[in-house]
């Protein structure tokens, strides 16, 4: 396994030797920002292509296959189409908030993205409150949706935004509870420590029953947080045209679209980090030869493999279940998921105190 800390330290040392300290820091910030945004967009392209192909597979279709080999250039041509579209000007709407809204959504998404541990030492933000910071940063994306829906001056957008608000605020709770369950198990919130701890065994195995319940709760609430079916009420096409982003054209819509896809990647990435061991390889205690063979595979391959597995699970759910009604969505959260989540937290605490974990 490569420790990327040595690589970043080497780059830091090199920059500090050719530049004064503050300039070096500034250059480092710029490099990191560029890398993060490029990675963000690359994954967005992969995700959009994957969504189309997976959706097609679930519906017994072929999916895009005209533009480029196996339709590989489809996403690029879509982006190009979006860039050439006319930006419409709305009458009697709040132009400032209308322009600002997509940026709030994308900002929250990129900050959360930069907390993901792609490999040992390969992450941008690593606070000692790590996982809590992720929850904090993802919590203000909802503001962009609310403002976008309101400032569009359109009833459909408004209804979509209100639904989205109610849904996302509610499901944040059970998501927080399931993350908290795993924090109880690990005893740390720092993401690098969380993953480091899991090189001895992934938390979903070490925490057995409560960890598995937490994983299921996390996947359900993650699906709701990203506004995807069966929780896609905010943009229910058959009822609300396109929900909160009905009035957006061109890249304004593009930002909402990319952020939605990347939020799914982020949800899957966090699930990987806290349940499935992040970049930690699959190990069996005792089987040393097997373990060292597993450690030969680079960490980012493990991370991306597991993340795309979770994404595939999310897409499977998305293309299998029908849409819920808004009251069913809220009943599911407040009457089932939150009580189960609280109980699960208690079970996990008892397990940890009694030493019933592995």
């Amino acid at each position: 396994m490569i420790d990327f800390n040595s690589v970043t330290t080497a780059i830091d040392r090199f920059l500090n030797s050719v530049l004064p300290h503050q300039a070096a820091t500034l250059v480092e910030c710029l490099i990191i920002a560029v890398c993060a945004i490029v990675a963000y967009l690359t994954f967005a392209i992969v995700m959009i292509y994957m969504e189309r192909k997976v959706c097609a597979a679930f519906q017994c279709r072929v999916g895009p296959d005209r533009v480029g080999k196996w339709g590989l250039l489809q996403v690029f041509s879509d982006v190009f189409k979006m860039l050439t579209k006319e930006i419409i000007e709305l009458c009697s709407s709040d132009k400032i908030l209308y322009t600002l809204a997509p940026f709030l959504v994308i900002m929250s998404s990129i900050i959360t993205f930069s907390c993901l541990p792609f490999d040992n030492g390969l992450q941008v933000l690593d606070f000692n409150i790590g996982i809590f910071f992720i929850m904090a940063a993802s919590s203000f994306g909802i503001l962009g949706i609310l403002l976008g829906g309101w400032s569009s001056n359109n009833k459909f957008s408004m209804i979509g935004a209100m639904r989205s608000g109610g849904q996302m605020i509610s499901y944040e709770l059970s998501m927080g509870l399931s993350v908290l369950t795993l924090v109880v198990l690990s005893g740390t919130m720092q993401i690098s420590d969380l993953v480091e701890e899991q090189t001895k065994g992934w938390f979903i195995f070490r925490g057995h029953i409560p960890a598995f319940i937490a994983f299921i709760i996390y996947i359900i609430s993650g699906n709701a947080e990203t506004n995807r079916a069966p929780f896609d009420l905010p943009e229910a096409e058959s009822e609300l045209t396109a929900g909160f982003h009905t009035e957006y054209s061109g890249m304004g819509f593009g930002l909402f679209y990319v952020a939605e896809f990347m939020n799914m990647f982020i949800i899957a990435g966090i699930a990987t980090t806290i349940f499935l061991g992040g970049w930690a390889p699959f190990t069996i205690p005792g089987a040393d030869a097997f373990n060292s063979a597993m450690f030969m595979i680079p960490g980012f391959v493990w991370f991306l493999g597991k993340t795309f597995f979770v994404i595939w699970l999310l897409m499977w759910i998305r293309w299998t279940f029908p849409r819920l009604r808004i009251d069913q969505v809220l009943v599911l959260e407040w009457k089932y998921m939150v009580p189960i989540g609280l109980l699960n937290l208690l079970i996990m605490t008892i397990c940890v105190v009694m030493g019933w974990t592995f």
Binding site: D94, S139, I142, L143, L146, L147, M162, T188
Partner: protein, 167 residues
């Protein structure tokens, strides 16, 4: 000029400008959004001082909670686009008096307090320490305020349900 000073000036500038526009803006939705930037700036200051926990709480509670709640209230009342104009002279006077009192108090406190800035070292406080002092029962620990706060929140929840419940 150190990089810390540059970041601080940037944050302070954003906060002051956003706060000024939040107060003077006649549209309530814009004022709320500008308030959000003030709160972000505050969170940024906490991160600068390595109070990462406080910064994250600031973002979760204020940006993700209070501002969303404010926007929700405005949307539910359907007054998002209504201009907030001054109706009576009395309110105007009362507002001015409150603002002036606040300003005098703040200036008095800033000038009279001896800030131990030179003794301050920016360092991360671990979550374990925070949790221990939040839940500890010894001197300078916070179990009593914590419990009082939870009772208050419980009372609020019960009250809200009571109001919202249909007969």
């Amino acid at each position: 000029m150190s990089i810390n000073l540059i970041i601080f000036s940037g944050l302070a500038l954003v906060m002051v400008i956003a706060a000024l526009f939040a107060v003077t803006s006649s549209k309530i939705m814009r004022a709320t959004t500008l308030l959000l930037f003030v709160l972000f700036g505050t969170a940024g200051l906490y991160f600068m001082l390595h109070y990462s926990f406080l910064g994250a709480v600031q973002i979760t509670v204020y940006a993700g909670g209070i501002v969303v709640l404010l926007i929700f209230v405005v949307l539910l009342l359907g007054k998002g686009s209504v201009d907030v104009t001054q109706t009576s002279m009395r309110r105007y006077m009362a507002g001015t008096a409150t603002a002036l009192t606040g300003m005098v108090l703040a200036i008095y406190l800033i000038t009279s307090t001896d800030f131990a800035g030179d003794k301050f070292t920016a360092e991360d406080v671990t979550m374990k320490e925070l949790g221990m002092s939040l839940m500890g029962t010894e001197k300078y620990n916070y179990i009593l305020p914590f419990e009082v706060m939870s009772v208050l929140l419980l009372a609020c929840t019960v009250g809200a349900i009571l109001i919202a419940r249909k007969k």
